[in-house]
Symmetry: C2
Subunit: 230 residues, 2 copies
């Protein structure tokens, strides 16, 4: 497999996908066209506009982008594609759409066959075992929380450290992930913004400028450095 | 109906339920025993320990507390009870448990018959139309997101204003609720900590020290004052 699962598409103050440019060029080497999956976006901009946003980045590196929503037979489009990019938004909406249109398993088998896959945020969540560690609001009811399982763990994108100043009684991110582990035995990778997971064949590493926080059942959470194998 | 749906159980620096004491005394006037529903709590403390926490507050106002988990026939226990308190935790776990044990509709009909109901956080979410505006992580998969609909809207507990300093690319609470409204036509009450919904018969008001932020489909969000009817 040949995969990037990134915490975020955009760093604070940066341009869309800019910080990942070099990695994305390597990921899609040899592909001159990819399919963009815009289904996570719940509003504000249309699927066409969201695809155009992806296109304006990929134009710069000479890769054409088609939106999956443009195809009548979406499964066939995935099977004919050379690579994939799933953008962020709401994971519940993305997972609901992919399951209801029977596309989750088609995308999974195409990525498992070696076609390059880039996910950001919600698009990274669906690379994990299931979507039970998303930060998103459950605005729609998906037929299942199961995802592609391209990596043998779950991802928590936009991982955020507790803020000691916050006089607020909502759960911290760490508390939420520990709650997940009371109900599930799946490793969780708390991916801070600026970090990403890289899978090349069987080698899976965490990359980026920040440390990455790992949560496992019945263990204290711990930090790993960029470049560490997972 | 006779209901309090509170944003939080505990104000920053305060004791459990302390800020709501006077309201709770009024709500449960005439009841000397209530049932506590501890199912939202995913870990850290047991159902017994969580019930003990509720009991230690209600002892002070001379109301006995039994945990719903103590009963073999939980539906019968709800039907025989004089009042209810559902504590906070994870809304997905609470809703899954109530649906799987067929208790959601039993609790609903008991509250609709006039028995007093107190909910905090997750326990307030289940008083709304559905749980699609919870802040919680989807750590388990409930058979449905539908809730009791004790009020004709949804609640977003622990409502948090955007923090302009935060250099983080995750969605703000306001963005999340607006995303909900692209997929659903249900009013959302953004309940800041310290505020609660009070329903007495057909009169529903918002109470507490803070303004409350209201979100409706195709409208700009707006603020209402304490005491306003909903």
């Amino acid at each position: 497999m040949n995969i990037i699962l990134a915490s975020t598409s955009t760093l604070f103050g940066g341009e869309y996908l800019e910080y990942l440019t070099e990695e994305i060029v390597q990921l899609f080497e040899g592909s001159d066209e990819i399919i963009f999956i815009p289904f996570a976006r719940p509003g504000g901009i249309s699927h066409d506009e969201y695809t155009q946003k992806a296109r304006s980045f990929f134009d710069k590196i000479n890769i054409k982008v088609k939106g999956l929503h443009e195809f009548d037979d979406k499964a066939e489009a995935l099977n004919n594609a050379k690579g994939f990019f799933t953008g962020g938004g709401n994971t519940f909406l993305l997972v609901k759409t992919l399951h209801e249109e029977n596309l989750m398993s088609v995308l999974k088998s195409n990525v498992e066959s070696g076609k390059p896959y880039l996910g950001c945020s919600a698009g990274s969540n669906i690379g994990g075992q299931n979507m039970k560690t998303t930060n998103d609001m459950p605005i729609v009811y998906p037929p299942s929380f199961e995802c592609m399982g391209l990596v043998p763990f779950n991802i928590n994108p936009h991982y955020l450290d507790p803020s000691p100043e916050l006089k607020h009684n909502g759960e911290t991110r760490e508390t939420r992930i520990k709650e997940f582990l009371t109900q599930n035995d799946v490793k969780v990778v708390g991916l801070r913004e600026g970090n990403w997971i890289r899978r090349k064949a069987d080698r899976i590493t965490v990359e980026g400028a920040e440390l990455t926080r790992i949560f496992e059942k019945d263990k204290e959470p711990y930090e790993i450095e960029s470049g560490t194998e997972l």
